[in-house]
């Protein structure tokens, strides 16, 4: 069950000189969920997160994390949260075990470092220098450091940026594992696929403003109700496609038909219609809108523009 809110942000504002990084951001993160702050690069994700972590001083607004005000009690807060920073580095020649050992020494009740390295698949890299690790291994080490104090909330900033798909998938399963241990995860990403896979709820941020917050599926349903069914039939075209309830367009290319419509039941109706028409369907797939489409619709541009 999703419980009390562990992070509350209200009207957060932060500017660097005359550049406004975060204009007016409000959201809350609830206990036990994976919450994603999503948006293009430069939207204010990292600034927002660093204000919440207590390493940046907000210009305005109110932030509470686990009942604490981050910038006022950063050290108290650091004991209870775990942080992975975007593009962070460690000393080139620090060994993996030394980093874990150093971090362990900073907290009163650290987890077992070796066990953590084992769980993150870094056991055989214990003695390796940081500079010799691959991108994915570095990120897994940063996850280990973020978890070493058994934190209540874990912050992950652009965790998989620059990783290859395989390493990314591995990290994703680690992140869901963190939630399954009862932790709250607050992450930022500009990868919509990542947000869709991982997040229970997302906040879409653009130009320093939060423009929408909800579960990814709910956002898709609300903003992009379009559904498409694409199928390939043998020979004779099925009749009466136009009469399917909710249908908006039919396009044909050779023997491949693309039906576009809207509504929860659209796909079911198409299937019923096809089976009733008694034709031979060689291939059928549905195309559902994604968070990427939601983003496009809400902002008028793609996330990578």
């Amino acid at each position: 069950m999703l419980g009390r809110s562990v992070i509350e942000v209200a009207n957060l504002r932060k500017a660097y000189g005359s550049t406004v990084a975060v204009d007016d951001a409000s959201f809350e993160v609830r206990e036990g969920e994976i919450f994603g702050l999503i948006g293009p690069n430069g939207a204010g994700k990292t600034t927002t997160m660093e204000c919440v972590e207590g390493i940046r001083r907000p210009d305005g607004g109110r932030i509470t994390v686990l009942g604490l005000e981050p910038y006022k009690s950063p050290y108290e807060l650091q004991h209870r949260i775990g942080v992975q920073l975007q593009q962070a580095q460690l000393q080139k020649r620090i060994k993996v075990w030394e980093a874990v050992d150093l971090w362990s020494s900073l907290y009163p009740r650290p987890l077992d470092g070796d066990e953590l390295l084992e769980q993150l698949g870094l056991a055989d890299k214990r003695g390796a220098w940081f500079m010799t690790l691959s991108g994915g291994q570095k990120q897994r080490l940063f996850i280990a450091l973020a978890l070493i104090n058994d934190p209540e909330v874990v912050f992950l900033d652009e965790l998989t940026t620059g990783l290859d798909p395989q390493a990314r998938r591995k990290i994703w399963s680690l992140v869901t594992g963190i939630r399954d241990r009862g932790k709250t995860v607050f992450l930022t990403t500009h990868l919509m696929e990542e947000a869709e896979r991982l997040c229970d709820r997302v906040a879409i941020i653009e130009h320093g403003r939060v423009i929408e917050i909800d579960a990814p599926t709910a956002l898709v349903e609300q903003h992009c109700p379009e559904r498409s069914v694409v199928f390939t039939a043998d020979a004779s075209p099925p009749a009466g496609l136009d009469s399917i309830e909710g249908i908006e367009s039919v396009s044909v290319e050779g023997f491949t038909y693309r039906l576009e419509g809207r509504g929860e039941d659209f796909v079911t109706r198409v299937i019923h219609h096809l089976s009733a028409s008694d034709i031979h369907v060689r291939d059928l797939r549905t195309v559902l809108p994604t968070l990427e489409d939601v983003f496009l619709k809400l902002t008028g541009h793609g996330i990578r523009d």
């Binding site: 390493i55 650091q78 004991h79 580095q89 000393q91 080139k92 020649r93 030394e98 150093l102 900073l106």
Partner: protein
């Protein structure tokens, strides 16, 4: 927090030793050069009975202050590199207090300064008799005070110069000319009056004067001006760098 400081200091020592160029450059090369110099010149100088020159009598002070300045410059470089690489920021997102993080680096530099100077004394003993008249302990204390005061200048440089590439060169440009007029190479009295005044305002001049005095057996109470100047320099520089220091 003490545990964190000790752990961080120990890790930084290990990391420093793992960087071959760092160790060779700051400890190895000076000591080897010194040995070569001693082997070729030391005996000749002793035989010739020539009056003590900067190389013999002032050598310990000369070496000490150069090693101290070298340490400060490498501290400046490390701080800049750590900042540019986001390492400082990563360390800061922990319960570690910023002062602890910087103190660990200062301690590491002090340790290596002491090690290098110790090696110098051991290596040079055969060729250059130490004419230490004061106590070794006092001289060590004077050197510690001096080094810490110069390190405070290093922090200002590290705070003011944002990129790692320029931090060390700019540090050299600031510190080495200060050494030239500090009385280390020639007495300050040889300078024009205006220059003398300027030299007396520079912290390194007081550092050299303190080291020379303590070396030749002077009492601490005769060097209150130098101690005051070095303390003032420390306070001003630390206050200034606390104001302008950036973690990223």
């Amino acid at each position: 927090m003490l545990k964190g400081l000790l752990k961080l200091t120990w890790v930084e020592i290990k990391i420093f030793v793992r960087e071959p160029m760092g160790v060779i450059g700051t400890v190895g090369i000076p000591v080897v050069l010194f040995l070569v110099l001693g082997k070729t010149l030391g005996k000749k100088m002793a035989d010739s009975g020539a009056p003590p020159t900067v190389l013999s009598s002032g050598l310990a002070i000369f070496a000490s202050i150069f090693i101290a300045v070298g340490s400060v410059l490498s501290l400046v470089a490390i701080i800049s590199i750590y900042r540019e690489g986001g390492i400082l920021k990563r360390l800061r997102a922990t319960p570690l207090r910023p002062q602890i993080i910087l103190s660990a680096h200062v301690i590491v530099k002090l340790i290596f300064t002491a090690v290098t100077i110790g090696l110098f004394i051991l290596a040079g003993r055969r060729y250059f008799p130490l004419d230490l008249e004061g106590s070794a302990f006092s001289f060590g204390a004077a050197l510690l005070i001096t080094t810490i005061s110069i390190m405070a200048i290093g922090f200002v440089i590290a705070s003011a110069v944002p990129t790692a590439r320029f931090a060390q060169p700019i540090g050299s440009v600031i510190l080495y000319p200060m050494l030239v007029v500090s009385g280390l190479f020639f007495p300050i009295e040889l300078l024009p009056t205006a220059w003398q005044t300027a030299a007396n305002l520079l912290p390194l001049t007081h550092a050299v004067s303190l080291l020379k005095g303590i070396w030749s057996g002077g009492a601490w109470s005769d060097h209150l001006v130098e101690l005051g100047a070095l303390t003032l320099n420390f306070v001003i520089c630390i206050a200034l760098s606390a104001k302008i220091f950036r973690w990223e």
